[in-house]
Amino acid sequence: MENNPNSSIFDFNLDEESRSHLAAIAQWTNINAIAGLASAAITITFFIVTLIRLSNYGGNLFSGLIVVWPFISLVVSLVLNITLLNASSNIKKGIEGSSQAHFETGITKLATYFKIVGIITIIAIVFVAFVMLAGILAGRGTGF
């Protein structure tokens, strides 16, 4: 039996099918990220135009929650989609050039993407719990 120095009994390598799936994942995540970035850009442009138009009627609309909430959404969307775009391009480079370094970076970025979505999910759960608690307390206060 030939002894290959690059492999051991614990080697776990990708086969053709895995490569094909990963190539498709890279392609679709790329489209997904571009669509997300375009959507964020359009939404923020529309929001700024609306704010400028409304400010013509008087008052300072560039303050408080009106600006903070879309700004947070934009930052989250940018971070998520840029991470996904990085994952996509690195996985693609890794698969096409058989580059372990690029493949590793791609998978790391994909894991980071899921981590960010997970953290946003936790924040959303906490937010919903607070709203429900406030609703229950307000209901008790009004006698319901």
């Binding site: 690059n6 492999s7 614990f10 080697d11 776990f12 390598n13 990708l14 086969d15 099918e17 895995s18 490569r19 799936h21 990963l22 498709a24 994942i25 679709w28 995540t29 489209i31 997904n32 669509a35 997300g36 375009a38 959507s39 359009i42 939404t43 529309f46 890794g94 698969i95 050039g97 058989s98 580059s99 372990q100 370094a101 493949f103 590793e104 998978i107 790391t108 994909l110 894991a111 899921f114 981590k115 979505v117 997970g118 999910t121 759960i125």
Partner: protein, 145 residues
């Protein structure tokens, strides 16, 4: 330098060792959490949608003739729409859950079949979410004009 040496060693085979293995395990862990939360949210929407739908149903019934159109068609339609949307979301996140389960199993058993099943699920998940992302983008564009 280190990277090129690593690339040279890897040759044609991309290996699932060290950092890749750790990151895949992380991705599986987080995707499991996300999908479980979505399943739970789907359950909540289903319960509140059915109860809320029934309440809306009764409210329109009290309106008499004016509410007939809602009690006859609209009320049940609302429940059907809620069920359909929940089913679609649950199906999408089933693929993410499947990705998580298969990858975890693949990393434990070092089975390439399990790994491929996991990657196939992730591919389907991203295909569906991308279609939704494109539809959302088109919807935003349409709203502008």
């Amino acid at each position: 330098m280190e990277n090129s040496e690593q690339d040279h060693l890897a040759g044609m085979d991309l290996q699932l060792e060290g950092e890749v293995r750790h990151q895949l395990n992380d991705a599986a862990k987080w995707s499991r959490f996300i999908s479980v939360v979505v399943f739970f949210a789907c359950g909540l929407v289903l319960v509140s949608g059915t109860i809320g739908g029934a309440a809306i149903f009764n409210s329109f019934r009290r309106l008499g003739n004016a509410g007939d159109i809602f009690t006859g068609f609209g009320g049940s339609m609302l429940i059907v729409v809620i069920f359909f949307m929940v089913a679609v979301v649950a199906l999408v996140y089933y693929f993410l859950f499947n990705f998580s389960a298969k990858i975890k199993s693949a990393l434990i058993s070092e089975s390439i079949t399990e790994l491929n099943a996991g990657l196939r699920s992730l591919k389907i998940f991203f295909i569906i979410t991308t279609v939704f992302a494109i539809l959302s983008l088109l919807n935003t564009i349409v709203k502008l004009f």
